[in-house]
Amino acid sequence: MRIGDYKVSYGADEAVFRTGTVRVWMIVLFLAMAVFPFWAGDYLLYMANLTGIAIVAAVGLNILTGAAGQISLGHAAFVGIGAYTSAILITKLGLPFIICLPLSGLSAALFGVIVGAPSMRMKGLYLCIATLAAQVIFEYLFKNWESLTGGIRGINVPAPTIFGFEFNNEFRFYFITVPVVIIVVTAARNLFRTRVGRAFIAIRDRDFSAQLMGINLFRYKLYAFALSSFLAGVAGCLWVNFIKIVTPEHFPLHESIRYLAMIIVGGLGSVLGSIFGAIFMTIIPEVLKSMLNIVSAFSPDAMAYLSPLQTVVFGLLIVVFLVFEPHGLAEMWRRVKDYFRLWPFEH
């Protein structure tokens, strides 16, 4: 049971990590993340990098959809814009990775504002369909603007170098991904303690009331689109530098839906939820694969069912979470924590 939680200043009450226990656990977490790459093999590191990149994108989508309440079916397209911007800047202009990272974000943010502009007049389902149209149109551009994007062959990117040090394998790239994830998560967590973040939540809860309280709806919706696609762009830049090739097939509508599924399963509007969701949705297909691997020892053609089973499980997860746990894994986590916080006095 948590005791001695007594605050004498506003600063202590507003702090992100409010108690000593939390701070200790955070240090443990950081240590674990620092030790992880030395312990894990290439495959685990590969997954860790992908998960980290997914976390960045999911946090971005959660700002737009979870916090500000604007549904986007085009998030993968913004990740794609970031990836292509980075690939083009690196291969055609030879810019270094460290400059490409923010530039990819900015270019995605620019397109985010363009796609978000109709939100001045539309909302809800109509806006949702408008973002679907954006997804389709960008996908088409990736595929067909061959002089810029290389068409279906895509663009190959060399391994990123920072100050002469080449980040050319999973192990090394981990030390790019993790700092970026930490910065993004910290920034997002703090965003909701500022006017802008609070305004997003007000818009989600009731846009008219928010407007009456002096929030410029249009401007803040555009902020939400810009911020969200900025993070998507950063994720895209990381992704292309990690995978080293970008093709249009990497950013289909299904990918947008996967990001939405992450924040639904993780918890809408919660930064922690985005992290949980991204980890969960990246791990589940792998778990399924290893389960089928065990089954295929008994019936050899079990692996043929992998792809359809993954599709079914993916859909089931979304539906089951929405029906039984609409606040997602973050809420489950909170309940578990509460149980231990109050233990042994549950009631």
Partner: protein, 294 residues
Amino acid sequence: MWFFLELIANGIAVGGVYALIALGFVLIYKATSIINFATGEFMMIGAYFFYTFMVMLGLPAIPSFLLVMLGSAALGFAVERAILRHMLGQPTISIVMVTIGLSSILLGLAELIWTSDFKNFPPLFPRAPIIMGEVVIRSNFFWGFVIAMAAVVVFALLFKYAKVGVAMRATANDQMSAFSMGINVRTMFTVAWSMGAIAAALGGLIIGNIGGIQPTLGMVGLTIFPVVILGGLDSIAGAVVGGFIVGIVENLAGGYLHEYVPGDVKELAPFVVLVLILLIKPYGLFGKEEIERL
């Protein structure tokens, strides 16, 4: 000139099918305010039902057809009862995502049951193309159009005159008053889902008959969004008009633009039109403008 006319004629033929699918979509939206992202998968499942009854079980065409309608109605019923009923009153994002999740489940199940191989229906209609003046239409298109239009008319009449149709309209109009007039609103939700599923399945059957079936047939369902948004999500007349517009635009773009624009203009064009329409009329051509009060 004949090229133009032929494109228009084909556009109308395809547009009729879109209109039918969009009608099912609008039925569900009107009654329950749920936007059904699984429409495409309902189409696909309907087509597979037909394939199962006709090819795998060897039934004649007409009984298979009726069984497909029955099967899709059962599917819509089950989906509404098992999933959507729990989602009443939830925020838009949850409802959108639950139907997206549903579409993923249906797609995966179809791949498990029928495998992802490409399949064809046996020929249902005489193969000879229909010739009207200079315009030639493939017979599958023509008969598909006829069936789709017949279904649209039946649905429209049902909606206008049958007791259940009137009750559905009342529900869509005002749930509270519908309740107080003794209409079982929940039953109406179920009926709407069943009818929506039937309309989608018929559309899927026609499209499957034209181009063969495989689990990704549901991707056609994406084209339905430009159709319904064009007409306005809650307008039946809009769904029909939108269907024809999208069908024609698609064919004209495919016919005239593909020399100048690379790639699949045919699939892109409806979405470009969609964006333009939404910029000018944010609630579609016939949609009801939402007036909000605090």
